[in-house]
């Protein structure tokens, strides 16, 4: 009787292990409609750089804050600051760094107009 239960237990363990391998490795759930909040760090950094480049010609802090808000609930200044840190480590050019610093200085003092939810 005891050996029967041991066989059942071993069967369940092996089956569960196979199920986990299949569900996590062989055929994991595919995400197709993700939000920008989970973009890889380098893509996030490039997106923030795009916002900084656009801001440099538009000088529209509301538009910049709205674009940064796509990346998550952190404040725009924190998002830009994190990108600046990433850029320093990963060799952003001085021009790119200057653009990010320009955006950061504006975002640090940015307060959305009434009704805006960036």
């Amino acid at each position: 009787m005891q050996s029967t239960w041991i066989r059942i237990l071993i069967g369940i363990v092996i089956g569960a292990a196979l199920g986990l391998v299949y569900g996590w490795v062989i055929d994991p759930i595919e995400y197709t409609d993700v939000t920008p909040g989970i973009l890889r760090e380098d893509y996030r950094a490039d997106y923030v750089l795009m916002v900084a480049e656009a801001f440099h010609s538009e000088y529209d802090s509301d538009a910049a804050a709205r674009r940064l808000a796509l990346l998550g609930s952190e404040s725009p200044a924190m998002i830009v600051s994190a990108t600046l840190d990433y850029g320093r480590i990963n060799g952003f050019t001085p021009q790119e760094t200057a653009l990010l610093q320009e955006l950061l200085s504006v975002m640090q003092t940015y307060s959305p107009a009434a009704g805006d939810t960036p």
């Binding site: 066989r7 071993i10 199920g19 391998v21 989970i38 973009l39 480049e53 796509l70």
Partner: protein, 292 residues
């Protein structure tokens, strides 16, 4: 065949199956793989639109077409130019202003033609140099063609001149026009198009600069007795960066003008064409405008 409920192999198989189901439920439902390092190609469609807008806005600032192209490639679109054009048209259809759509249309156009075009400017360029010379007939013609367009952007900046020492006459502002990106367009061609493969009454408009390069992003206004329609060149880059079209109805007289000034084309209507069998059908028109 009867299964023996005490068969140890059956026990093991059932246990294995149960374990497999539990494992799949856990890995797919309870604790699925979590994406933390996603790439832009799997963004939701509306976020992709926002991403394209950011790319286009950045491009307007940097004019770096290769970087813009590389960034668009991240989105994994089969045809990035077609996606940009489609997005521009979706935005216009949703009531967005052309100022917001313009970077997208500009990037689509530049990618299509493969080089960076003249940047759009919201303020008029220095098209006019103030020099102390008398007005020329050319200037008078320019002013005369500007008169009907009350919405047009002023092309001239008038500055009163100080009177020369020997003159007693009252000084007058004088102008010398230099064609620039916003120079007015003149109608250089009005052709009847008899092509049964085209839609009936298709009004095609082509805008070119002084070097015969097509110009995108120019607002065209078509008016008729009971209405008015506004549209822009460059939203169908597959047909040309300076191309725009409009469907005319038979028996209605239309007028065409460009928002930034230039030739006014009144009283145009659908022409009647005849096919190879002698049957009549409604043809189209091609209006070609060019800057000096």
């Amino acid at each position: 065949m009867k299964l023996d409920p005490h068969n140890p192999i059956l026990h093991f198989a059932l246990a294995l199956l149960t374990g497999l189901v539990l494992g799949l439920v856990y890995s797919w439902k309870l604790s699925p793989v979590t994406y933390v390092d996603a790439n832009p190609s799997i963004l939701r469609a509306d976020f992709k639109d926002q991403y394209r807008l950011a790319i286009a806005a950045s491009y307007v600032s940097t004019r770096d077409i290769n970087r813009a192209r590389a960034r668009l490639d991240l989105l994994g679109d089969a045809d990035p130019v077609a996606e940009l054009s489609a997005q521009a048209q979706r935005m216009l259809a949703a009531g967005e202003t052309f100022e917001r759509v313009r970077p997208i249309a500009q990037l689509a156009t530049d990618l299509q033609q493969g080089f960076v075009s003249i940047p759009f400017t919201s303020t008029p360029p220095a098209s006019v140099a103030d020099t102390p010379i008398a007005e020329t007939p050319f200037i008078e013609e320019m002013v005369a063609t500007e008169t009907p367009f009350t919405e047009s952007t002023p092309l001239f900046e008038q500055t009163p001149l100080a009177p020369p020492p020997d003159f007693t006459a009252t000084p007058r502002p004088t102008l010398t026009a230099v064609p620039g990106p916003q120079a007015p367009f003149s109608l250089v061609g009005q052709d009847t198009i008899c092509d049964p493969t085209l839609k009936d009454g298709l009004l095609q408009i082509l805008l070119m600069d002084g070097r015969r390069r097509q110009v995108a992003g120019i607002k065209i206004i078509v008016t008729w007795a009971n209405g008015e329609s506004h549209f822009f060149t460059g939203l169908k880059p597959e047909l040309g960066n300076g191309y725009a079209d409009f469907l005319m109805k038979e028996g209605i007289a239309y007028s065409v003008r460009l928002e930034q000034g230039g030739s006014f084309v009144p009283n145009i209507a659908t022409p009647t064409c005849t096919d190879a069998n002698g049957a009549s059908y409604t043809g189209g028109l091609l209006l070609t405008f060019q800057q000096p």
